[in-house]
C-alpha cells in the first residue's frame, strides 16, 4: 500500500513537473533543463556517474565520468556546472581514453648502466630520497630543485611548496605556469595588488562587446567561446577578434582586425589616447579609484644567464600620462602596426561608449610576450580609464591555459617567490607560513632563486645537481629546447620525472615515477574565474601508479620530515586542503569548505558566509570592500588601482634579411599542450596527427611552396622540419609563419627564443625570427 501510494505521488509530481516544463517551453522556445539533458544520455549501460572538473584547459568545465566495473567508459558535461552547463569540447569528451594507452608508465623505472630497470615504487622512492639528501649534504640545499605544473592539483602544489620551502628550506621551486600565466599575475599585482580576475564567466551573459586580444578562443577556450556565440545569436552581442593570425575565431567574429606582432603595446596606448582625447574618460571613477604610475623602460629581454631586473615605480599625474600618450596618436601607430586609423578609432569608440558593456579577453598572445606585464597593464588602463570594470559585463578577463594554473600555481604559489599566502620577501607572509607549517620561520628563505628559464639555465651551468619534475614536459614546452635538452642530459644533474606517459622529458630521467592520472586520484583544481572544484577518485590506476602528492610525502618522510607531513594515505587530499584553507581565511580570499565543494560543481572564492563572490572590488557584490565607496581596490594599501604608463618597445628579435619571417607558435583544438595525453586518444590523433607550418598563401606562392611539402624552419638556435599548411586551419599575416608546438616529433621549440618579460619572467613563444626552405 505504502509503495503504491508513493509511486502514485511521484507519478503525479512527475506529471506536474512535465506540464510546467511544457508551459515553459511554449514561452521560451529552445529552453533546456538539466534533468532533460541527463535523460538524453543513453541508458543500458549500468553507469555510475561521478562529478569532477575537466583535466584540460583553464576554463574548468564540469564533467561527469561514467564508470562500469572499475573502468571509465564515458564522459559527459555536467549540466549542473554553471561553467559549461552540460557542454564540453572534443578533448573533454574523450579525455579518459588516454589512460588505457599501451605505453602507460605503470611501474617505476630506474636507469642502471644506461638502461631502465623496472623497480618497485618504494625502492625507487628510496633512491630519490637518498639522492636528494646526499646532494643537499654535499652541495647545499640550493642545489636541488623542483619543477611542477599548473596541472598539479591544489594538494600536490601545496605539498611541493611545504616540502621545498618549509622542510628543505630552498626557494628552488617553480612551475610551468611561469610559461603561461606569469605575466597575467604580474599584471594583476602591479595594477590591482591582488591576483586573478575581478569578474567571472557570467560577465559573458551581460557584455555587449567581446574584444579578444591575440586569443583564438574557438580552439583554445571552446566552451567559453560557445557561450559567447550564444550571446551573439541570442542578444546580438558583437565579437571582435584582434590578433596577428586569422583563425577559426576570426571567422566566427563580427570583425577581425590584424596587427603586426609586438605592436599591441602601441595599439593599446592608441586606444587610451583616443579615450583621453575624446573626453571618454570616466573622470569621477579615476579620481576616486585610480593612481597613475610609471616604471623603468628599456629593460632588456633576459636572454643572458643570471639576468636581473627590478622595476622602480614612480607616481605621476594625469597630465603627465596624457602627455606620454601624445606619441600614440592613431595616425602614428597605424604606420607601424598595420592597423588602419579607422580600425583603431573604431576599437576606441567601443571602449569609450558609456552605454556599451565591454569584455576584453586574452590569454597567451598577451602573456607570452617580452612585455607581457606591460600589455596586461595597458588593457587594464583601458578599462580603468573608462570605469568599465568589476561589474557584470564590464570585465577585463585574463583567461588561463591550465586547469589549475589559478588554483595551484597562483593561489598555492608554486613559484620561487611565492608562499601559499603572499611572497617570500615579506616577513609577515613567511611568519604565517611558518606558523601553519609548524617550522621555524628562519627555515623559509627570504630570497627568490630561479624562475623557470633560469632554473634550466642553472641545470645547464651545473648549479642545480638534482631536479624533480612533476606533471610537466619541459623538454617539449620550454623555449629554446635546443639548449635545455642537452643540459638535462648532463651527468652533473640527477633528473627525476613523475609522469603518466613517457615523454621527451622522461627520456632523459634517471628515475621515472609512475603517476596516477586525474581520475585515478582525488584532488582539487581552480579555474580562471576563481572557481575551486573537487573530485573524488573514480577508478584504480594500473600497476604501481601513485598520486603525486603521496610520492612527495613519501620522499619527505624518507628524508626525515615525517612530522611535517602527518597525513594519511587514504585521506591526504582532504587533510591537506583543510590545512591549506587556513592561509586564505578572511573576506578577501576565503576558500569554500570541502563539504560544499563535494556537493556543488565548484565554488568561487572569496567564499564568504556561504556565498561565492562573483565580482570583486565592487561594494555591491564583494563583502571585502570597506571604504564606503562603490568600488574598493583593496589589493593596494590606498584602495586605488594603478594606471601604468607603459611604452611600446620592439620585440627581442625581429625578422631581418637573414631570418625574414616571424615565427609564432601556439595550439590547436585537438591537442592539449605537449600532446602527451591527447595524442594517445585515437579520435584526437586522427583528427590532427602531426604539427605543420602555416604560411600566408602569398608567401607560399613567392617561395613556390605547396601544401604538405616538407619545410625546414631554421632560427639562430635550431631547426625543425614540418609539412607546409596553406590556408587550412589558420592564416598568419604576411611575413609570419605559425607552428603548433604539441608535436614532440617536430620540435619547434628547438628554434624559439628564451627571451622573457623582465617583470614576470615569462618567455615569449610568439615572436622570433626564422628562415624557411624546402627540406
Amino acid at each position: 500500500m505504502y509503495n503504491s501510494l508513493t509511486n502514485r505521488r511521484s507519478f503525479i509530481k512527475k506529471m506536474a513537473r512535465l506540464s510546467a516544463m511544457a508551459a515553459a517551453a511554449s514561452m521560451f522556445p529552445g529552453i533546456l533543463f538539466a534533468s532533460e539533458q541527463e535523460d538524453g544520455i543513453p541508458k543500458g549501460a549500468n553507469l555510475d556517474w561521478k562529478k569532477g572538473p575537466c583535466r584540460f584547459c583553464g576554463v574548468g568545465c564540469g564533467i561527469l565520468v561514467g564508470t562500469e566495473n572499475g573502468k571509465a567508459i564515458a564522459v559527459k558535461g555536467d549540466p549542473n556546472s554553471s561553467v559549461n552547463k552540460g557542454l564540453l569540447c572534443v578533448k573533454g569528451y574523450h579525455q579518459t581514453m588516454c589512460i588505457q594507452s599501451k605505453d602507460r608508465l605503470t611501474h617505476a623505472l630506474v636507469k642502471k648502466n644506461g638502461t631502465y630497470v623496472k623497480t618497485p615504487i618504494s625502492e625507487a622512492l628510496d633512491i630519490v630520497a637518498n639522492k636528494m639528501k646526499d646532494t643537499i649534504a654535499t652541495h647545499g640545499k640550493d642545489s636541488v630543485a623542483m619543477y611542477t605544473s599548473g596541472q598539479s592539483t591544489i594538494p600536490e602544489g601545496y605539498v611541493a611548496s611545504k616540502f621545498m620551502k618549509g622542510a628543505i628550506g630552498t626557494n628552488n621551486l617553480d612551475c610551468n605556469a611561469r610559461l603561461c600565466m606569469a605575466s597575467a599575475v604580474a599584471g594583476f599585482l602591479t595594477s590591482f595588488g591582488a591576483d586573478e580576475p575581478m569578474g567571472c564567466y557570467e560577465d559573458i551573459d551581460h557584455a555587449d562587446y567581446f574584444i579578444t586580444w591575440g586569443n583564438n578562443m574557438a580552439e583554445m577556450h571552446p566552451v567559453l567561446f560557445s557561450r559567447i556565440l550564444e550571446q551573439k545569436s541570442r542578444r546580438g552581442s558583437k565579437v571582435i577578434d584582434f590578433a596577428t593570425r586569422t583563425t577559426r575565431s576570426s571567422t566566427a567574429s563580427d570583425r577581425s582586425i590584424l596587427f603586426e606582432p609586438q605592436t599591441d603595446l602601441a595599439l593599446g596606448n592608441a586606444i587610451c589616447y583616443e579615450i583621453v582625447n575624446n573626453g571618454w574618460v570616466n573622470k569621477s571613477f579615476i579620481e576616486k579609484h585610480c593612481n597613475f604610475s610609471k616604471g623603468l623602460t628599456k629593460m632588456g629581454y633576459g636572454m643572458e644567464d643570471k639576468y636581473k631586473f627590478k622595476d622602480k615605480p614612480e607616481k605621476i599625474d594625469f597630465d603627465q600620462y596624457k602627455a606620454f600618450l601624445e606619441d600614440y596618436t592613431p595616425e602614428k601607430v597605424a604606420k607601424y602596426s598595420k592597423v588602419s586609423v579607422k580600425d583603431i578609432k573604431y576599437l576606441a569608440s567601443i571602449y569609450g561608449d558609456p552605454n556599451k558593456k565591454v569584455m576584453s579577453l586574452w590569454c597567451m598572445g598577451v602573456n607570452q610576450h617580452t612585455r607581457g606585464t606591460w600589455m596586461n597593464n595597458i588593457i587594464y588602463n583601458i578599462h580603468l580609464l573608462t570605469g568599465k570594470i568589476s561589474e557584470p559585463g564590464n570585465s577585463p578577463f585574463s583567461l588561463t591555459g591550465q586547469p589549475s594554473a589559478c588554483g595551484t600555481a597562483r593561489e598555492v604559489g608554486t613559484f620561487t617567490h611565492k608562499l601559499p599566502k603572499g611572497v617570500v620577501t615579506n616577513p609577515k607572509h613567511r611568519e604565517l607560513a611558518a606558523k601553519i607549517w609548524k617550522v621555524p620561520v628562519e627555515k623559509i628563505p627570504s630570497k627568490p632563486t630561479y624562475h623557470t628559464t633560469e632554473m634550466f639555465r642553472a641545470v645547464d651551468r651545473g648549479d642545480i645537481k638534482f631536479i624533480w619534475t612533476q606533471a610537466v614536459n619541459p623538454l617539449v614546452s620550454l623555449p629554446k629546447t635546443s639548449r635545455y635538452r642537452p643540459a638535462m642530459k648532463k651527468e652533473s644533474c640527477f633528473v627525476v620525472v613523475s609522469d603518466v606517459f613517457p615523454t621527451p622529458t622522461s627520456d632523459v630521467a634517471d628515475v621515472i615515477l609512475p603517476a596516477s592520472w586525474h581520475i585515478e586520484k582525488s584532488g582539487l583544481y581552480g579555474n580562471s574565474e576563481r572557481r575551486t572544484q573537487h573530485w573524488d577518485k573514480m577508478v584504480e590506476g594500473p600497476g604501481d601508479t601513485t598520486p603525486d602528492a603521496w610520492m612527495f610525502i613519501e620522499v619527505a618522510k624518507r628524508m626525515g620530515y615525517g612530522d611535517l607531513f602527518p597525513y594519511s594515505k587514504e585521506n591526504h587530499v582532504e587533510e591537506i586542503y583543510n590545512e591549506y584553507r587556513q592561509f586564505h581565511e578572511g573576506k578577501k580570499h576565503g576558500m569554500a569548505p570541502l563539504e560544499v565543494l563535494k556537493k556543488e560543481s565548484g565554488a568561487i572564492w572569496p567564499y564568504v558566509d556561504g556565498k561565492s563572490t562573483q565580482w570583486r572590488f565592487n561594494a555591491k557584490y564583494d563583502p571585502a570592500c570597506s571604504n564606503g565607496k562603490d568600488f574598493h581596490f583593496y589589493g593596494k594599501p590606498d584602495g586605488k588601482a594603478v594606471i601604468w604608463q607603459r611604452p611600446y618597445e620592439p620585440a627581442a628579435e625581429s625578422p631581418d634579411s637573414e631570418y625574414p619571417f616571424w615565427l609564432n607558435t601556439g595550439r590547436v583544438i585537438e591537442h592539449w599542450h605537449t600532446g602527451s595525453m591527447t595524442r594517445r586518444i585515437p579520435v584526437l590523433h586522427k583528427a590532427m596527427p602531426h604539427a605543420y607550418v602555416e604560411f600566408h598563401p602569398e608567401d607560399a606562392k613567392a617561395l613556390s611552396i605547396r601544401n604538405g611539402e616538407k619545410i625546414k624552419v631554421t632560427s639562430r638556435r635550431g631547426s625543425c622540419i614540418l609539412p607546409a599548411s596553406i590556408n587550412e586551419r589558420g592564416l598568419p599575416t604576411k611575413g609570419q609563419v605559425f607552428v603548433p608546438f604539441f608535436d614532440e616529433n617536430m620540435m619547434i621549440n628547438d628554434t624559439t627564443l628564451d627571451a622573457f618579460c623582465p617583470i614576470s619572467k615569462e618567455p615569449d613563444f610568439k615572436k622570433c625570427a626564422v628562415k624557411v626552405e624546402k627540406a
Partner: protein, 232 residues
C-alpha cells in the same frame, strides 16, 4: 563709400578666413583619412574554418523550426541519389532551364531551401553556394536504362550511431570536409535527412566537439614517438 569699403573688407576677411579654415581642415582630413592600402585578398580565408559559421545566422531559426514529419528525407534516400558515397548528388527533378549552367537557376531553391509544392519536398541546401557552375558536377537523371550493364558495387556509406568513440560522446565526422564545410546546410533544417539532423543547431561551432575521424588521402597510423632522445 566708407561703408562700402567696410563691407568689402569684411567680405574679403571672411573669404580669407574661409580659405584658411577650409585648407586646414582639408589637410587634417587628408591626414585622418590616411589608411594604408589594404590589398584585396585573392583567396578565401581558411575555407575549412569559416564555412562552419556560414549559416550560423540561421541557427536559432533552425533550432525553433517545427519538424515536418510528413516530408522528411531519410538517409537512404539521400545516399540513393548519389552514384557512390561521396559522389555529388544527381538532380532528381526536371531542370528548369536546360541552357543554364546553374547559378541562380539552382540557387533560387537550393541556397536557402524551403518547401516546393511541385515536388512535395523540401529543397536541400547546398553547402557551397559560391560555386555556381552547378552542373559541372550535378547532372540530371533523364533515363533509367543503362548503355551497358555495370559491375560497379556501391561502397558502404558511413552508418549513423556508430561514429562515437565512447558512450554518449559526440559523433566524429565520417566524411571529407572540403566543399562540405558548412555543417548546418546538410545537418539542420527540414531537408536534412532525419537520421543526421542535429538536435542542437544553435551551438554553431560544430567542430568544437565533432572532429574528422580520418584524413581522406592517407591512412593515419597510431601516435608513435620518433624523436626519442636515445636516437640522437
Amino acid at each position: 563709400m566708407k561703408k562700402r569699403l567696410g563691407i568689402i573688407s569684411l567680405f574679403v576677411l571672411l573669404f580669407i578666413t574661409f580659405i584658411t579654415i577650409w585648407n586646414f581642415s582639408y589637410q587634417v582630413g587628408l591626414e585622418e583619412g590616411y589608411i594604408p592600402i589594404e590589398n584585396v585578398e585573392s583567396h578565401t580565408n581558411i575555407p575549412s574554418e569559416s564555412g562552419v559559421f556560414e549559416r550560423a545566422e540561421f541557427a536559432l531559426e533552425y533550432a525553433n523550426m517545427p519538424i515536418d514529419e510528413n516530408h522528411q528525407r531519410t538517409l537512404s534516400a539521400y545516399y540513393n541519389n548519389r552514384a557512390y558515397y561521396g559522389a555529388p548528388p544527381s538532380i532528381p527533378h526536371p531542370i528548369k532551364d536546360e541552357k543554364s549552367l546553374g547559378g541562380n537557376t539552382c540557387l533560387q531553391c537550393h541556397q536557402n531551401g524551403g518547401f516546393v509544392k511541385q515536388f512535395d519536398a523540401y529543397a536541400p541546401v547546398t553547402p557551397h553556394p559560391e560555386m555556381i557552375n552547378c552542373r559541372q558536377c550535378h547532372v540530371a537523371q533523364n533515363s533509367n536504362t543503362l548503355f551497358k550493364p555495370t559491375n560497379l558495387a556501391k561502397v558502404h556509406a558511413p552508418k549513423v550511431g556508430i561514429n562515437n568513440a565512447l558512450i554518449g560522446t559526440p559523433p566524429m565526422i565520417p566524411h571529407q570536409i572540403q566543399m562540405r564545410e558548412n555543417c548546418l546546410s546538410c545537418h539542420a533544417g527540414p531537408a536534412a535527412p532525419k537520421e543526421i539532423r542535429v538536435t542542437h543547431p544553435e551551438r554553431i561551432n560544430c567542430r568544437q566537439c565533432h572532429v574528422p575521424t580520418d584524413r581522406v588521402v592517407s591512412e593515419i597510423t597510431p601516435f608513435t614517438r620518433t624523436n626519442s632522445n636515445d636516437n640522437e
